[in-house]
């Protein structure tokens, strides 16, 4: 991951030096695709970890919040802003991981509606 970032940044500086317009276009496309793949990966892990909350309310909230956050920022195009949001997402992922674990350790009884559904 870090290695890839280093490579792309070197590639980018190379491009700047040579000013090849055709290549720049191609490069931006690749970059967009890469970040799209990365985003999908982040999204999937956020949802997967959110599902691990033992508490009904926290689980539902986490999943809903992740979905809504991605929907909200769908049209985000500014590279810098996107980078910040992704960093925020990874930070949230760590929080969810830890808190889902705590939620599992101190479980309460299931709620009435959870029992009815099953």
């Amino acid at each position: 991951m870090a290695c890839a970032a280093k490579l792309t940044s070197r590639f980018f500086s190379m491009l700047n030096q040579r000013q090849v317009s055709g290549l720049t276009l191609r490069f931006n496309e690749i970059k967009a695709m890469a970040s799209k793949k990365e985003l999908l990966k982040l999204y999937k892990s956020l949802i997967r970890e959110s599902q691990k909350f033992a508490s009904y309310n926290f689980r539902n909230y986490a999943i809903r919040r992740v979905n809504d956050a991605f929907r909200e920022n769908r049209s985000l195009s500014d590279h810098e802003e996107l980078k910040n949001k992704i960093a925020e997402g990874y930070k949230s992922l760590e929080t969810i991981r830890r808190q889902a674990l705590i939620s599992q350790m101190y479980q309460a009884e299931k709620l009435v509606i959870e029992n009815i559904r099953k």
């Binding site: 926290f58 809504d68 705590i102 009435v112 509606i113």
Partner: protein, 446 residues
């Protein structure tokens, strides 16, 4: 499951034999599912939580921020001689900034307390006592929280004059009456932002402007409002404000008070001690709790629009179902100037306590948690002129950040079923159906 076994066994073995072999549970469940639709239906699992005005669950993001200060970083934030103290102090100061940002204040104007009750005490008693030599009059409303009213009672015993402003039938105060009540002797006006029982939102901006023009300090109890509706102490001319941690998905046992510095508001401290928090609230600041309150305020600020939109939607959903299927339901308090997460409904011809007993699988309240032990009707409802019988039949639905659509639907369904059932049993309801006006009846006196 645990509930089911408990109720099941206590019925089978009244002597209190609560250890039964596991093999019998399936058989027990069969018996109870047969009784599922009986009047006193047993339910399996924990009740749903719809009492967001009493308290809110701790947000996992808040706990995550607090954990390091509950484990590794345990220093006293007031210790100036070592790193343990410095790191705690830095955390407390960061939290102070987060709280200040929520209400557009300066961090120096935020003082950590044990909760909104303490904040209200400091504000009301502190200001009144400090300016006692010059001014001895205080104005508040009849629908305030108990801690403000009781602080005022205490001041009355000390020789202060207190005006308890009446409210209109929608729960809002009248600005003309407030204007008339302010005298040159008035030192403080204390009016809560969002009412804890009926959710009514007072015109804080207008009240602030009026108080500023008359040079009277304005305190608002924003325990139910901070983090839920936009508040700005500069635009709204607020001089003192109380905030509670556990109403904004933060930890219990912490709150804050905003005390304006320019123009300066002085308060007499209630607690004597080490002089922490600018001498206004002595005692070590609990670092983990302060950090929790700070983070809770930050989340509420970031997500205010998101949460508000969702709570409005859920609140509409609940009311649509209930109002479409039940008649004679009255919403207490103004329907427009209100916080949507607090819905106070009166179900006519149903006794509120019996409805609460029937709705055991939903955690609801008939009003304030502080007064829920008494069977007296709420003083807030009496202040807005609700009839005695309707005041007795009120239920408060509190919707919060973690409430789901499913929970709202379940609550509405259960509520409708039980109100219908209780009404069918009521002779009063029968008379109403026959077209008899209950108010015209002369009940015989014995």
């Amino acid at each position: 499951m645990y509930n089911l076994i408990k109720t099941g066994t206590s019925r089978l073995f009244p002597s209190g034999l609560n250890k039964i072999p596991k093999v019998t549970t399936a058989w027990l469940r069969e018996i109870t599912t047969e009784n599922k639709f009986k009047i006193k239906d047993e339910f399996e699992g924990r009740p749903l939580y719809l009492d967001a005005q009493a308290t809110t669950p701790l947000d996992p993001r808040v706990l995550d921020e607090m954990m390091p200060y509950l484990t590794s970083y345990y220093g006293n934030p007031h210790s100036r001689t070592h790193a343990y103290g410095w790191e705690s102090e830095a955390a407390v100061e960061k939290a102070r900034l987060q709280v200040a940002n929520l209400i557009a204040a300066d961090p120096k104007e935020i003082i950590f307390t044990s909760g909104a009750t303490e904040s209200n005490n400091i504000a009301v008693k502190g200001v009144a006592r400090f300016y006692a030599a010059k001014k001895k009059h205080i104005i508040t409303t009849q629908t305030e929280h108990k801690c403000v009213l009781d602080s005022c009672r205490a001041l009355e015993a000390e020789g202060f004059k207190v005006t308890y402003l009446p409210v209109n039938t929608n729960g809002l105060i009248s600005l003309e009456e407030l204007d008339k009540a302010i005298t040159p002797d008035t030192s403080l006006v204390s009016i809560m932002t969002v009412n804890n029982e009926i959710g009514v939102k007072q015109p804080i901006g207008e009240i602030g402007r009026l108080c500023r023009s008359k040079k009277v300090f304005f305190h608002t109890d924003a325990a139910q409002a901070a983090g839920k509706v936009p508040l700005n102490v500069q635009d709204m001319n607020i001089d003192l404000m109380s905030i509670s941690g556990h109403k904004v998905y933060g930890p219990k046992g912490i709150g804050a008070i905003y005390v304006r510095r320019r123009p300066r508001v002085r308060v007499e401290a209630i607690q004597s001690g080490g002089g922490q928090e600018r001498g206004i609230r002595s005692g070590t600041v609990p670092t983990p709790l302060a950090v929790g309150l700070g983070r809770a305020c930050e989340i509420s600020q970031d997500d205010m629009e998101y949460d508000h939109a969702r709570i409005t939607r859920l609140s509409q959903r609940l009311m649509n179902v209930i109002f479409s299927e039940l008649s004679h339901v009255i919403r207490n308090g103004d329907p427009v100037h209100t916080y949507p997460g607090c819905i106070n409904l009166s179900f006519a011809y149903v006794e509120g306590e019996s409805l609460l007993m029937a709705l055991k699988d939903v955690a609801l309240s008939s009003g304030s948690a502080c007064t829920s032990a008494s069977l007296e009707p709420s003083y807030v409802l009496r202040a807005i002129g609700t009839d005695e019988d309707l005041a007795h039949s009120s239920i408060r639905f509190g919707i919060g950040r973690f409430t789901t659509e499913e929970e709202v639907d379940y609550t509405a369904r259960k509520c409708i079923d039980h109100v219908t059932r209780l009404r069918e049993m009521s002779p009063l309801w029968e008379m109403v159906q026959e077209g008899i006006d209950l108010k015209s009846i002369q009940w015989s006196q014995h």
